[in-house]
C-alpha cells in the first residue's frame, strides 16, 4: 500500500524554485511538448509533480527511476501557467535520489570526477597533439585540489 507523506514536498529544495508545487492545478500544459514524455510512457511531469505533492514519490527517487530521462529542456518551466517549474521539482528529486545512494552510476561518477580533477574530461596526449596541430596552446589545467578542499 502506498502511504502518502504530505511533508515530503517540504523536503524539496526551494532554492531553484522547486518549492512552488502546491500551485499546480494539474492542467497538463507541461506534458504536451515534453520530449521525455513523448519517449517514455511512464514519464509525465504532471504526475511527477502530483506524486511529489502528495508525498508518494518513493518510486521516483528509487534506483533507475524514470526521472533521469528528463532532458532538462525547460519547456515545462516555460509552459506551466502556475510557475510550478516541474523540471526543478525533478532536479530536487534527483538530488534526493543521489543523497540516498540511488543515483545512476554515470551521474555520480561524473560529479566525483569533476570534484577530484576539476574537469569533466581528463586531458590526454592525443588531444594535446591535436591542439598542437591546430596551433593552440596546451589545454588549461584545472586546479583540482581546491574543489576537494571545500567540498569533501
Amino acid at each position: 500500500m502506498l502511504k502518502a507523506d504530505p511533508g515530503f514536498k517540504k523536503t524539496l529544495s526551494p532554492v531553484e524554485g522547486a518549492g512552488k508545487l502546491s500551485y499546480c492545478y494539474q492542467c497538463s500544459a507541461c506534458v504536451a511538448e515534453c520530449p521525455a514524455a513523448h519517449n517514455f510512457n511512464d514519464f509525465n511531469p504532471r504526475e511527477i509533480v502530483l506524486a511529489s505533492l502528495i508525498g508518494v514519490a518513493d518510486y521516483l527517487t528509487a534506483k533507475d527511476s524514470v526521472i533521469w530521462q528528463c532532458t532538462t529542456c525547460y519547456k515545462c518551466y516555460e509552459r506551466c501557467p502556475q510557475g510550478t517549474h516541474p523540471v526543478e521539482v525533478i532536479n530536487a528529486l534527483k538530488n534526493i535520489s543521489c543523497a540516498a545512494g540511488n543515483g545512476p552510476e554515470e551521474v555520480t561518477s561524473s560529479r566525483d570526477n569533476v570534484l577530484a580533477n576539476g574537469s569533466l574530461i581528463s586531458p590526454s596526449e592525443a588531444i594535446e597533439k591535436r591542439r598542437q596541430e591546430l596551433g593552440l596552446d596546451k589545454a588549461p589545467v584545472a586546479p583540482a585540489g581546491e574543489l576537494k578542499k571545500i567540498l569533501e
Binding site: 529544495s13 526551494p14 532554492v15 531553484e16 511538448e33 520530449p35 521525455a36 519517449n39 517514455f40 533521469w68 530521462q69 528528463c70 532532458t71 532538462t72 529542456c73 525547460y74 519547456k75 518551466y77 516555460e78 517549474h85 532536479n91 530536487a92 534527483k94 538530488n95 543521489c98 543523497a99 543515483g103 545512476p104 554515470e106 551521474v107 555520480t108 561524473s110 560529479r111 569533476v114 570534484l115 576539476g118 574537469s119 569533466l120 574530461i121 581528463s122 586531458p123 590526454s124 588531444i127 591535436r130 591542439r131 596541430e133 591546430l134 596551433g135 593552440l136 596552446d137 589545454a139 588549461p140 584545472a142 586546479p143 583540482a144 581546491e146 574543489l147 578542499k149 571545500i150 567540498l151
Partner: protein, 293 residues
C-alpha cells in the same frame, strides 16, 4: 569597425578537451571582430547543468560560484562558447543575486579559498556578444559570404530557457541566432520543432538518439545543407550522434554540423583546411561545396 571589447575566455571542458577545432575557429573569428579574449588560470568545469546539478545542487552551486569568483577577480566579464557553461554560470549568478539559503552555504565555503562573488562581473554567451556587435558589424567582417548555403539553426535549450533567467531571446520563437547566420550571407531554413531539444541529456541512449534523429529529419525536410549550433554538447549530439544513429537506428542522415563561430570564420575568409574541420565525424564537404570551397 573594431569593437575593442575584452572578455575573459571561459572555455569549459568539452571545447578544449574534445573539440579544440571549435576553440580555434572562435579565437580567430572573434579576434577578427575586434574582440579580445583573455585566457585565465584557475577555472574548473562550470559544472555542467545536466548531471552534476541533479547529483547535488549545493555542490554544483559552490563550484559554479567559485568559477564566477575567479572570473570576477580578473576584472572583466566572461565569455562562454557553450550553452552548458552559460546556463550554469548564469543561473548561479542569478541565485547569488537572490541570496537564498544554499547560496549562503556556498559563499561560506568560498571564504576558505579567500574568494567571493559580488555579481560585478557577469557571463556572456558568444551569441549574445555577437548580437551586440550586430548584423552590420558581423557582415562587415565577412569576405566570402556563405551564399547558397541553407542552414538549420539549433539554439539549444539552455541558451533559451528559462527565459527569465537566460534572457537571450523568446523561448519558443527565437530569431536572433538566425539573424546572425543570415549576416554571413547564408539562408536560414526554419523547420518544424526548431526550438526542440537535441536530446543529449536523456539517460536512455536510444531515446536520446531518436530525439536527435527526429530533429535532423525535420531539418533535412526543410532543405538544410547543414546545422548551426552554439554549444559543444549539441554539436556532439548532431555530429558523433549521427554515427550512432546510423549504427543503432539504421538512419543515415549525413547532415554536417558546425558551431556558429566555425561558419563565421569560414565567411571571414579562413581556409576551411586550416580549421581542423576534418575532425568532424560527419563530412563537412557537401556543405563547403555549396559555397564553392
Amino acid at each position: 569597425m573594431a569593437q575593442n571589447q575584452e572578455y575573459t575566455l571561459f572555455l569549459g571542458c568539452m571545447i578544449p578537451l574534445r573539440h579544440p577545432q571549435i576553440e580555434l575557429a572562435s579565437r580567430k573569428s572573434l579576434g577578427a571582430l575586434g574582440i579580445t579574449l583573455k585566457d585565465a588560470e584557475g577555472f574548473t568545469c562550470c559544472p555542467e547543468p545536466w548531471n552534476f546539478k541533479g547529483a547535488g545542487l549545493e555542490s554544483w552551486l559552490t563550484v559554479a560560484l567559485r568559477n564566477l569568483a575567479v572570473g570576477e577577480k580578473k576584472g572583466r566579464d566572461m565569455l562562454v562558447l557553450c550553452n552548458g557553461c552559460y546556463a550554469t554560470l548564469t543561473e548561479a549568478a542569478h541565485l547569488a543575486a537572490c541570496n537564498g539559503e544554499a547560496v549562503k552555504g556556498a559563499m561560506d565555503k568560498l571564504k576558505s579559498l579567500k574568494l567571493s562573488y559580488s555579481g560585478k562581473s557577469s557571463v556572456r554567451h558568444v551569441a549574445s556578444v555577437l548580437q551586440d556587435i550586430g548584423v552590420d558589424g558581423i557582415s562587415g567582417s565577412v569576405r566570402r559570404p556563405l551564399k547558397g548555403l541553407k542552414v538549420a539553426v539549433h539554439h539549444g535549450c539552455h541558451l533559451l530557457r528559462p527565459s527569465e533567467v537566460m534572457g537571450f531571446d523568446d523561448p519558443f520563437e527565437p530569431s536572433v541566432l538566425e539573424g546572425l547566420v543570415e549576416s554571413l550571407g547564408a539562408e536560414v531554413v526554419r523547420y518544424e520543432g526548431y526550438t526542440d531539444c537535441c536530446g543529449n541529456a536523456t539517460r536512455d541512449t536510444e531515446a536520446s538518439l531518436r530525439i536527435g534523429s527526429e530533429k535532423i529529419a525535420a531539418m533535412k525536410k526543410a532543405g538544410a545543407d547543414c546545422i548551426a549550433v552554439v554549444c559543444p554538447a549539441c554539436f556532439e549530439q548532431f555530429d558523433l550522434g549521427q554515427v550512432e544513429m546510423k549504427r543503432r537506428l539504421k538512419v543515415d542522415h549525413r547532415l554536417p554540423a558546425f558551431h556558429y563561430c566555425q561558419l563565421l570564420a569560414i565567411a571571414q575568409g579562413e581556409d576551411p583546411e586550416s580549421l581542423g574541420l576534418d575532425r568532424h565525424r560527419i563530412d563537412v564537404k557537401p556543405a563547403l561545396v555549396k559555397i564553392g570551397k
